[in-house]
Symmetry: C2
Subunit: 132 residues, 2 copies
């Protein structure tokens, strides 16, 4: 069995920081999907309307943008304001929570940029060491 020090042994044999029904997974699932992070970053400069977002992201379908925004809104990362006009106007912007998330995300993005060469090199190396 596992004797992980920082893990209080539960009756079941679960051992890790990321147990299954896990808040951390919640977050990572959100930034890990295809569009959420992109939407958040697009909203960083300021408020955007629906089709404005669509144009800026450019290759996102209405459907996915709609779904993504709804999820982000549910999680309190983005706020939605609908103006009762004709034609309708809906504006989206980052909440403070959403903005605060962009800080650690930026660190990750920075890592990615900085270490991209290393990752690519590793991939090349892998291909060449092939006896597989």
């Amino acid at each position: 069995m596992n004797d992980n020090p920082h893990n209080p042994d539960v009756s079941s044999s679960e051992s890790l920081v990321l147990a299954q029904p896990c808040p951390i997974r919640d977050v990572l699932d959100r930034i890990g999907d295809q569009w959420s992070l992109l939407v958040l970053l697009t909203l960083r400069p300021g408020t955007r309307r629906f089709n404005q977002l669509r144009r800026e992201i450019d290759d996102i379908s209405k459907q996915m943008l709609s779904r993504t925004l709804k999820q982000l809104e549910q999680d309190g990362l983005v706020s939605r304001t609908a103006y009762p006009e004709v034609p309708p106007r809906v504006e989206y912007q980052l909440t403070e929570l959403g903005q605060s998330l962009l800080t650690p995300v930026a660190a990750l993005v920075a890592w990615a940029e900085q270490h991209q060469p290393a990752v690519n090199a590793a991939r090349e190396r892998y291909k060449h060491t092939t006896a597989r």
Copy 2:
């Protein structure tokens, strides 16, 4: 795929940090999937053997552990050492690159833990403000 005809000038506006064929997406796809991050965190304390990882993660199948490790190895985040013994023994450990990734990841995990209540509250709020 991209190259939309009615696309306004992307170049002059906020340059999208995440263009489509994107190194950042590469990384996020890796930590965004079901198991990679969990494996990396499990390896943080030190070297682990294959079935040792399986037991610690507990609910991962051999298949997914194998796939995940191979990907992490390809990307240079994890190193694999096979000992020519009978029965075979294979050890995995974080590379320096893998360890360096855990730093920004830790920031994200910290954010998740810290703001989980806020996210849950937002979800509750959403349920109540919704139609019905």
